[in-house]
Assembly symmetry: D2
Homo-oligomer: 341 residues x 4
């Protein structure tokens, strides 16, 4: 039975697994000084069409926290959306890695920051009793399944840079965003003003690992030491990096992401036909957020479905993964229709 | 060509890889709430013959640093051997995770602490201008290829506990030590007074990951939160835990460790017959440390061999892994003999 | 000209200065091992009628941050009012000292937390992706000039303790609260369930320094080391502690606080008679918060008065100090009346 | 009875106390936005003959730790002498403020680093498993009462800068060093290559407080926020800054330091005539270090004298302060002579 709790319930996609197995060949230098890591880094530079610096971290909490810590000091602050994963679901990871940087949440429709919202936070205080804003972080795709368009990112990045802030992108579902937008990875990142991207690998189909991509290479000074000290340098790095090769080689990453997005679309379309359900956000990537009557939520759970309830909204979150089957979506919808009577 | 630079140059052993592939079956709850993780934790409890608490971290720097941080506050200190990896090769990881705990190095023959050395450090200062000793950490097997016997650990642990210190074991090569000593894992850890063990998986043949084992369960309070915040909670945890199953199921972990130890023995025996080489430490686990004339070191390198030179000692370190072939050892020895002419 | 910007615009009160000068007699042991420090600590134990542990820190940011850090680990969180100084005006100090503990703001009328508000925050999440609540902090008197009654504190403390949380009191204006309530210091602190109090000295009339008072002495384990490491151990401690003697010896601390409260009352009464002004909070201690037309605010400033404008409320904050003169209050009121036309 | 335990056993010198009392005049803006603080900062700029940035911290641990933290990241390291106070007597303060920077001790005669010693430490490692050296710190006057000459500092600073390191000076006894050398403050600091100086006020005769002086102003970016967050921003700043005015106005700081130095000289000369005593270091500032037979040490203590014994050396440390009287020195010498029989 497949679940909709999270896209990290899915396993390793075939392309990543094949690459991992292929990399298990004899001895190789440790800590990233191997061919697989070099080749993936080059592939990522090609993908982004720029000479960026690439590092690998074990998970999203670490990738985001390390990246943010490299952009600010402990007495600085990070502007984020009030639903941002870095603020709500990383157990204080950014504060820990940065030794105290505060996250300053701002509001915004559909889980997205706006230049106005960022400006308001940045302008609020300038005294030394308040941590100085130094970074704005955008989640792409957002925590509620929406996607920033290129012009939206550019507008925020322009404001940020004009205010002395750097731009970080939490791309735990970056692939889903790129697939949804149909733009090039370059266009939606550095060409729009993103300084550092945490490119999510795990949700895309890897066993473990994310890439931290510095488009502004001056910002990555000594970042390798930062990773090492923080327990984020893999000794057998090839098993972290090689699976990326499998994902990137023939476009598997985008293909899988597009599939997950399509499954979310399929689910959303089905939900739209159920009067008791109400979609809470535009379905633009691989997540569907719906308000459901408590009886439906309980009923689905009684039938074994796993999914998160959306805090405070009386709603439910359904995430689709690279391997979500149409049949699974249809079975969930059938149960919903039956329960809705 | 195989290398002797580090046991982490080796890949994934067959048993671990098979278990990883077997775990890649459909959807599974994330963050450790899965069957594989439960089963491995139970297996580890059985292995240690006690109801210990088990957590998984991505690498040794993180496992050791998190464990040490859980044993002391920022203004405490950790007594370690002056060659301890936590002090010399983790780029300040323990200081970072603990927010400032100082490592207090002590001397000791063959890379091993003694009760006397620990006592001297603990007794040195008791004023508030100096961080209060709170932990003693032992590396087993040590950084120079030797092994603490049960009575040696017990003597240090007794002193430590009597002085209000806790006992941490850096077991990056714990398997090699157990294989060398021929004792039970329980005997060499909690029965001898170890409070927390970092049980190394990577060097044993896993792709990634170490286990943190709390024998004193009171010390693991809220440790799951600590791991999460520090970027050490794997979302697809099964790929971190399942490979342990493969290692533990039919004793593969000990078999592989014994093989690596035997290869080190074979290399040491060969070196003993080369007059130009001088063994620097007793060869008790899977590492061989030898003083070699510079010409030999250069010669080996010219022939493509990779190994570390031992800092300051004019010596060389040769590590054997789970997959080191007798032929590789013999080829290295043949080159040495030829070079020594 | 006197100002109403902050009670820390005032200087040293005569009793504190006399004690400081008296303490400047010859050589004395450093770091608190002197008679003045011992005597003040005993006086504070007598004042609180219990065998509490007493430490001195240089300022409120440090006192609060050190106290909070001693009550929780980096992956824990602190429930506070959304107007709490620790969250809004200490530049991330608590996060820095604790290495990442998150502050969880809650709402509450008149700047005061309620058991319901605390319960809501504590119950919100229990998963490891969110920092575990471990402390509730109360500001007494509050940031908006109100005061918690004994039963209000007891109700929150009871809930907190039942939920496994400790209770911290930010008493930057503790004297004003005690003077306002007419209760004993014991009654409003440990007898009501407060575990640790940061007793503000600076705003009370000292040149520098706050006292950290642990009523639950188990919580102060190794606190002296914590202070030392964090740069909060005065070498010439007598000059931090002796002024407290002057304050405590004949009740000067309460007399001065009562005076400041009375001046705030006088100002509030005058404001009540000005139709253009509207009091924003009950005036219970030494601060007066009023909504004023922008023209009045500008007008006062043009006449040289210094005061803070209350963020977002279009209002103004007027603080009275131990030395605020009735004439100063009357002059301010006269200007206000004149400007209000 | 005067003591020789530490120069911080002395009280406030008359000039500092007079300035403190004079500053206690009415209301003044808090947090350093006052005339006294501005005037002292200007005076310090004049004293150093350059447009430096000046900040005030409460004590030496904080001043040094904040300064070092501003010069390096958590994964960097600080080269220091093995006797450096920052390593031996600040309870891990530098590691705490920097969130993990390691101190790398080096040897050197008379408590002084040399270019060779610094070079050796810097060259030792360049891999990412070891914190990257980023700062060299010099204590002036040193912990053992010696003084770096201008050319000695310049040689170390040149090497440091050529190696990408910054130069920090722990000047807890900077006044004593300047008085001893007879050079200008500029000559012995920025002109010799010092980037940041922690100018000690407490031991010089202030009640509390040190100045952090950034000669390279680019390094002080946002330092005010750093101080605030770390609990080092005094609200009634005038009482921290004004005493400096008293010290600087008519050269009192140098006069007092020269006096303390002269008292140490007097003590050293007396000791030289006692065969049982042996001076351990050249007496160049205000401290005298001597090896004494245990019976003499015990005998002095029995007569009520307080002083530190020098760890491991069987020796004793005698510090002279701004107020040490010739009679006190002579009384100590008389007791020594009598005990030495």
């Amino acid at each position: 039975m497949q679940h909709f709790a999270s896209d990290n319930y899915a396993g390793i996609c075939p392309e990543a697994l094949a690459a991992l197995i292929a990399a298990n060949a004899g001895h190789a230098p440790a800590y990233g000084d191997d061919d697989w890591t070099r080749r993936v880094s080059d592939r990522l530079r090609a993908l982004f069409d720029t000479d960026c610096d690439v590092y690998f971290a074990f998970n999203g909490t670490a990738a985001n926290s390390l990246a943010l810590a490299s952009l600010c000091q402990s007495y600085h602050s990070v502007v984020c959306h009030e639903l941002a994963h870095v603020d709500t679901d990383e157990c204080g990871g950014p504060e820990f890695f940065s030794n105290g940087s505060k996250l300053l949440p701002a509001k915004g429709e559909h889980g997205k920051l706006t230049p106005e919202a960022v400006r308001e936070v940045v302008a609020r205080r300038s005294d030394i009793h308040y941590p100085k804003p130094r970074v704005v972080t955008l989640t792409q795709a957002t925590e509620v399944g929406t996607v920033y368009r290129v012009d939206e990112i550019a507008a925020i990045a322009d404001l940020a840079h004009a205010s002395g802030l750097r731009v970080h992108m939490d791309g735990a579902r970056f692939a889903n965003a790129v697939a949804a937008l149909g733009v090039s990875p370059a266009e939606i990142t550095w060409r729009a003003g993103v300084d550092v991207l945490c490119f999510g690998g795990t949700k895309m189909g890897l066993p473990v690992g994310e890439a931290v991509v510095f488009f502004d290479r001056a910002l990555s000074e000594d970042f390798a030491w930062r990773c090492k000290q923080a327990g984020q340098l893999a000794s057998k790095m090839r098993f972290l990096s090689a699976p990326w090769l499998g994902m990137l080689e023939d476009g598997a990453w985008l293909r899988h992401a597009a599939h997950a997005n399509a499954m979310a679309r399929r689910l959303a379309d089905g939900l739209a036909a159920i009067p008791a359900a109400r979609l809470l956000f535009p379905v633009e990537a691989n997540g569907v957020f719906a308000e459901l009557p408590p009886a439906l939520i309980d009923g689905l759970r009684a039938r074994g479905w796993r999914f998160y309830t959306f805090i405070g909204a009386g709603g439910a979150r359904f995430m689709c993964a690279w391997d979500t089957q149409p049949d699974s979506v249809d079975a969930l919808l059938a149960d919903l229709r039956e329960l809705a009577g």
